[in-house]
């Protein structure tokens, strides 16, 4: 089928185009070293950095930024989405459920550029003004300037963006847990919360795993909102800075592609951009596969979700 050819072609073409970047850097591509922005600028100007080839690139800063935002958002969303799904399927009175259902679909449908706009024009200035103390600004002033476009803002908005997927999958799974299983627990005198916790959520565990994995893939690929809000600087927040690390800028992989899209005509830079795309594509593909696999386990209970 056409779709298969397409997927194969996609992987192959992107990998072929990405190959020069990988072959010049080897596994150090994924490692730390130097300032990633300087390296990208050198490629854009087609002037090799002294002592290195034109393709010299160390991606760890970008990978670290991606990891921070993605893992943070997924962890928060995991907790919130489970509570929201339980509320939606168990506790919400019908009137509230009739509101919450379209609300979640709306949150899934709001374009990410609008999330980004709100982030950059409202939330970031607010954080800049009220949350970042002067002492904090000074403490890291010699390496980076804090301006509210940071890991925390990005992570919180990203959480909101992946929440609908996780709520949807978890809630559908909870709704399809056989009523008899729950009634059995209730009949034994177990209260509703414990029943939900011990019977429903436990049955839905594979679905929750699938939801988490799929949401991770989405968070990984988010580009526009992160390009607008996360700070747009190839900087690796240092966790040893404590809370201050939350206010430091990052630039995840996908956002890097978007922000360098004008360099696609420059050979070295475009090979590097395609290398970043290949990394994203392979990780998203593996996550999709893992999510599909987790759902298969759920189907084994005879429940379709």
């Amino acid at each position: 089928m056409a779709v298969l050819v397409l997927i194969g072609a996609m992987l192959a073409t992107v990998l072929v185009k990405a190959w020069p970047s990988f072959s010049h850097n080897g596994l150090s591509w994924f490692g730390p070293g130097g300032n990633v922005d300087t390296q990208l600028r050198a490629m854009a100007e087609s002037k090799a950095l002294p002592g290195h080839s034109l393709y010299y690139f160390r991606g760890w800063t970008l990978i670290w930024g991606t990891l921070l935002t993605t893992v943070g958002a997924v962890l928060i969303a995991l907790v919130v989405s489970m509570l929201a799904a339980v509320f939606l399927t168990e506790f919400a009175p019908p009137a509230i459920r009739r509101v919450l259902d379209p609300v979640i679909r709306l949150l899934a449908g709001v374009p990410s550029v609008i999330y980004g706009l709100i982030g950059i024009l409202v939330i970031a200035p607010y954080i800049d003004e009220h949350w970042i103390s002067n002492a904090r600004r000074v403490s890291v002033g010699y390496v980076v300037q804090l301006n509210g476009n940071d890991v925390m803002t990005a992570t919180l908005i990203l959480t909101l963006m992946i929440l609908p997927i996780m709520v949807a999958i978890t809630a559908s799974a909870l709704a399809s847990v056989p009523a008899a299983w729950r009634e059995g627990s209730l009949a034994l005198g177990v209260n509703r919360w414990r029943t939900i916790w011990r019977v429903s959520l436990r049955t839905a565990r594979p679905a929750i795993a699938a939801a988490t994995v799929l949401a991770t893939a989405r968070a990984l690929g988010e580009a526009v909102m992160l390009a607008m809000v996360a700070g747009g600087r190839g900087f690796a927040p240092n966790l040893l800075d404590g809370i201050t690390a939350l206010f430091e800028p990052v630039r995840p992989l996908a956002a890097t592609i978007l922000q360098n899209d004008e360099g696609l005509t420059i050979p070295a830079l475009s090979h590097t951009i395609y290398a970043i795309a290949a990394v994203l594509l392979v990780s998203a593909g593996m996550l999709s596969f893992a999510g599909w696999f987790a759902k298969q386990r759920f189907n084994r209970y005879g429940i379709r979700a």
Partner: protein, 343 residues
């Protein structure tokens, strides 16, 4: 407790027996904390959505004027002289129309094949996971792939060819084709969902009347799942309209429509131009132009379109009691295929 009102034998897994009111007084403290956290999260989500819509409405209405809808953008640093966003609106409509008109027939065909034929089965399983991969692939990556494909010289007639013979691969054609990939998983999932819910007796009755399988599909099944196809298409269109990354990479960041050559329609499609999403991006502090007022106004228009599509979906899916398990809207199941994050 919950068992006080055991409704007359609810169908397995669809209706949840519910007590008139949850009496939590007898629960241990930690259970009650969980219960109230659930309420807090549920109400909180409603408030967040309300805040987004209300904020965009207030900002949008205060900066939007009718003139902006009929004037082209003009390059100017002064916000009162930088024109309106007629071109971005046209661009959005062109891309949405192109994308859905490619994705809809293809998606329906794939869905029908997957649920009605499925042979050979290994191919069906592979296609299924391939569609999941497309649904999960970041749209930046899809865009880069599209750029590679449409920059091939034999596809030069779809975009611009420089005097040196180099094809730049950026055009509405390219953007529409890649956008179709975004909408495809939604249309496939929605149509399959619909086909799976049709009772077998419908097919059997048709076979008994001597119709072939192909006729049955064309005449009976496809007309029965028309609302589902429409749902998928509307959701897919919403995703196309909301995507920025593909537009930015495949159409560039120009402010006005730039047709290629003199041919009226084909020239436009071969050319490049902005859409509402790139217009917002470029006018926000993240882009070049510092025109937040224009960005707010355009974002409000974009949000209105998305809300409208959402309303259509709600209307389509709430008719005829088509509801998923647990009283959730059927479109709810499609959310996993409509990942807004990624573009």
């Amino acid at each position: 407790m919950a068992a006080t009102e055991l409704a007359p034998a609810p169908p397995a897994g669809s209706v949840i027996a519910r007590a008139p009111r949850d009496r939590t007084a007898s629960w241990p403290l930690i259970d009650r904390v969980g219960y109230w956290l659930c309420w807090a999260v549920g109400i909180g989500l409603c408030l967040v959505a309300l805040a987004i819509v209300a904020f965009m409405a207030v900002k949008g209405l205060s900066y939007l004027s009718l003139g902006q809808l009929v004037h082209s953008p003009a390059p100017s640093v002064v916000q009162s002289q930088s024109g309106g966003f007629l071109d971005p609106i046209e661009g959005t409509l062109i891309v949405a129309a192109l994308g859905t008109s490619i994705a809809a027939p293809l998606g329906v065909a794939i869905a029908v094949w997957l649920s009605e034929y499925r042979r050979p089965s290994w191919l069906a399983r592979t296609v299924e996971s391939a569609i999941e991969i497309v649904a999960g692939a970041p749209s930046v990556v899809l865009a880069l792939f599209g750029l590679l494909i449409f920059a091939q010289s034999f596809l030069g007639f779809l975009s611009q060819r420089a005097a040196t013979g180099v094809v730049n691969g950026r055009s509405f054609f390219a953007a529409g084709a890649v956008m179709a990939l975004l909408a495809l998983p939604l249309i496939v999932a929605s149509t399959r969902e619909g086909l799976a819910q049709l009772p077998d007796r419908l097919r059997e009755a048709s076979y008994a009347l001597g119709r072939t399988r192909a006729t049955t599909i064309r005449r009976i099944l496809l007309s029965a799942v028309r609302p589902d196809i429409a749902t998928g298409t509307a959701l897919g269109m919403g995703r196309i309209i909301g995507d920025t990354a593909i537009i930015k990479i495949l159409l560039g960041a120009g402010l006005t429509l730039q047709p290629v050559g003199q041919t009226p329609v084909a020239g436009l499609l071969r050319g490049t131009g902005p859409t509402l999403t790139t217009y917002i991006y470029e006018n926000s502090p993240a882009g070049e132009g510092l025109a937040p007022q224009k960005a707010y106004a355009a974002a409000f228009v974009l949000l209105l379109i998305v809300l409208g599509l959402n309303g259509i979906v709600t209307w389509l899916t709430s008719r005829g009691g088509q509801s998923g398990g647990g009283g959730l809207n059927r479109a709810f199941r499609l959310i996993p295929f409509m990942p807004n994050p990624s573009g």
